[in-house]
Assembly symmetry: C2
Homo-oligomer: 496 residues x 2
Amino acid sequence: MSATLIPAYEELKRRNARLYRFEHLIAIASHDRATAMPAGGNDARAAAIAELSLLIHTESTAADLGALLSAAEAEPLSEQAQANLREMRLNHLFARAVPARLVEAKSLAGARCEHAWRTQRQANDWKGFLENFRDVLRLAREEALHLSDALGLAPYDALIERFEPGMRSAELDRVFGDLRAWLPDLIRKVHLAQAPLPDLKGHFPREAQYALSLEVMAKLGFDFDGGRLDESAHPYTGGVPEDVRLTTRYTETDFAQSLNSTIHETGHSLYEQGLPREWVDQPLGRARSMGIHESQSLFFEMQIARSEAFARWLSPLVVEHFGPRPGFDPQSLYRYSTRVAPGKIRVDADELTYPMHVILRYEIERALIAGELEAEDIPAAWDEKMQSLLGIDTRGDYRDGCLQDVHWTDGSFGYFPSYTLGAMYAAQFFAAMRQSLPDVETRIAAGDFSAINEWLKDAIWSQASRWETADLVQLASGEALNPAHFRAHLERRYLG
Amino acid sequence: MSATLIPAYEELKRRNARLYRFEHLIAIASHDRATAMPAGGNDARAAAIAELSLLIHTESTAADLGALLSAAEAEPLSEQAQANLREMRLNHLFARAVPARLVEAKSLAGARCEHAWRTQRQANDWKGFLENFRDVLRLAREEALHLSDALGLAPYDALIERFEPGMRSAELDRVFGDLRAWLPDLIRKVHLAQAPLPDLKGHFPREAQYALSLEVMAKLGFDFDGGRLDESAHPYTGGVPEDVRLTTRYTETDFAQSLNSTIHETGHSLYEQGLPREWVDQPLGRARSMGIHESQSLFFEMQIARSEAFARWLSPLVVEHFGPRPGFDPQSLYRYSTRVAPGKIRVDADELTYPMHVILRYEIERALIAGELEAEDIPAAWDEKMQSLLGIDTRGDYRDGCLQDVHWTDGSFGYFPSYTLGAMYAAQFFAAMRQSLPDVETRIAAGDFSAINEWLKDAIWSQASRWETADLVQLASGEALNPAHFRAHLERRYLG
């Protein structure tokens, strides 16, 4: 048998396609776990997913990958292939940066802490949580040092790099510092001036909410031939670009909660469905970053669905699905979706106060990784920041304070900034889109989202990971990340 | 690092456990495909499943497996471990028997033929089907020769061995020959003597059928903590023993169809849920054979659920779920479930005529593999046998004749006998069980299935693949496969 010499880049593509297929099975098994699996199936499922994840990790750290990457980098490649190779190289750096025993220790400590947290949170048991969390923090700091070495970044920046490649905490300081300077004042002003809210509580049958969700999703452009809507305890977007699985949850006393959540996940889903199909099994074909992903969900949830124009379109739809009732007129729906109410819980926060929750977490986790703060110092820091940022007293309430989020329980430090980066990117993209679609509000009010989706597909979705994040933002919007767009958007909507 | 010497048997167990976890992911992805996946996800799903299947095949044919098996066979092992090793050896024989290029060619030809069959069947297009099917048959004959060499069996026996290890066509000739001798007469007699049937058609809402299914399943002993009921085009039992997924389908004009199908799949599911958990990831822990599997579904569907006692228990339940109506009294339900009506379609056949459909297919496929019959001869053979076995004219009707089943489209020759073997095993097991539970009918009428399930769990489920099939039958029932039990059962029920 004579060996045929395959170019290194082609061999790398083949291997990535294989891993993509394995990840497909993990995505579907994970989705089934969250939406269908009975409790008794959990151990077997966890073992099955872990076995295939281990195989993926083994193949991602194969000894010959470094040489293959170097060989490919010397091959004549198209611009897109070069971008694909750049993403492969970054993935490889990540995969090799952290020793296997640390990956395993972190995964075990995270699973233990997260599992216990579910009951500890309910019990307001900070002390109990702390026992597990100390290990998680210790291992995260260790991981940050390894990543820092491998990537040549400061430790916390190296953690951010996992979710928002190219973002640095110096840049976050700049844009979050900008927000911190004017947002608290805006919140106070809007909160004080706010008229009493229409009451939208009532009984909204699950089936009617489901039907409304499907109709709104279809109108927003979701392709049901390549995805579906399910129900889970925590809404998410999963599956694969060819078969996107988004979930929502239904509160029968409050249809808006589920609808907002469905629209948010539809934004994530449209991004996944709009990724270039010819690159779907390659790193180039993946969504650019968590911040850009969040920008797409917030583009739909905040920029579009909390606009006055959207309320005009939605009003007859909710009447059709739930029957007429007071509060279903466009003006009430709009006032309801733009109400401002500082509160303890991030996921329940309105558009104005949400960034304060993120900045609080960002400042705490940055200090934790830097060693300027220890695990036991979190509650005091939390209380102090909630008071100064939102004027809220959280002392003694861990459940709805520093124990409210899942992110830190498994050591996902560096993720929180994505949410507010996403909100800022979304405002910036919307402003750029308005340049070419000056009648965008008219279109929204008519329920015609096709031109909006075409713009997004062209500027964001089809670009996938072809450009680094900063370049994508520049190309799509004509400038670098600029918090002025977010400010202008909020002032127009809440003061206008 | 010093190498620790792991006993060969332990290494084999470790590898089998790994493959079991991979098979878990394929089972769940396949179940999702049949119950949830949108059409547009099909190509990606097929590629993902194929990739992991290929990996399983590669690891199942690893070059060092033969030596490991031989080494393990020389190790001191418990009786159970020896049985586990016997199953591993058989799996290895199968995996290595057929050259990879033939496996692939067969898989491609089967997929092509099966895919085209879906529309060809509807169009009564035998000629179109034949074009693809000639390849399928040719490759199946080739496969049979390879398996024959590897297993030291006649070619058709080697195909049967995949589904019913230990069964030979000489034995099938004996037991099916027995049936052929008395069953056609019994059918004629019962059919002529049958009183007009109660009419059970009506409108039975899907939701009410679902609720009834769940209640019956729970009463029959299905553990909903380790499984669930879904809906699919063709009912099946899938998933893994720790998380069994069974499906049904609902015809709103006929609740009995769905209920029978749910009970049938519940029998399969109880077997899976009752397999010994400590061996779940090993060959020893698998269900014994397709015939034994079918014996468990038919034990519940035929032996239990078509009994007069069961109709007494079911009657108030159907009233509760659908409201009172004529035909819901126990006697009508019993007459409905034991009606006899010779027809063209196997899956719609009643308990008496079903074996004739199987014997017909058995005789044809045995002749096909032996080269005594060619693909183009099938319709004539079919027509002749339908006439002689059931007195039915099928000439020119391929759709409801030789094109009705999926089995041959992908070359699953040797499977059909399992259905009637299952019916015979079920009758034999029920007769044996009656010895220790003489009041079994009283229990069924009271909806108390616990002692029945204990007997089955002890005799069949917990034994998994510990014994070869013939030994399992002997141990469970005290004798070898004996068609007299099936005859006695049918005569008691239909002539009694």
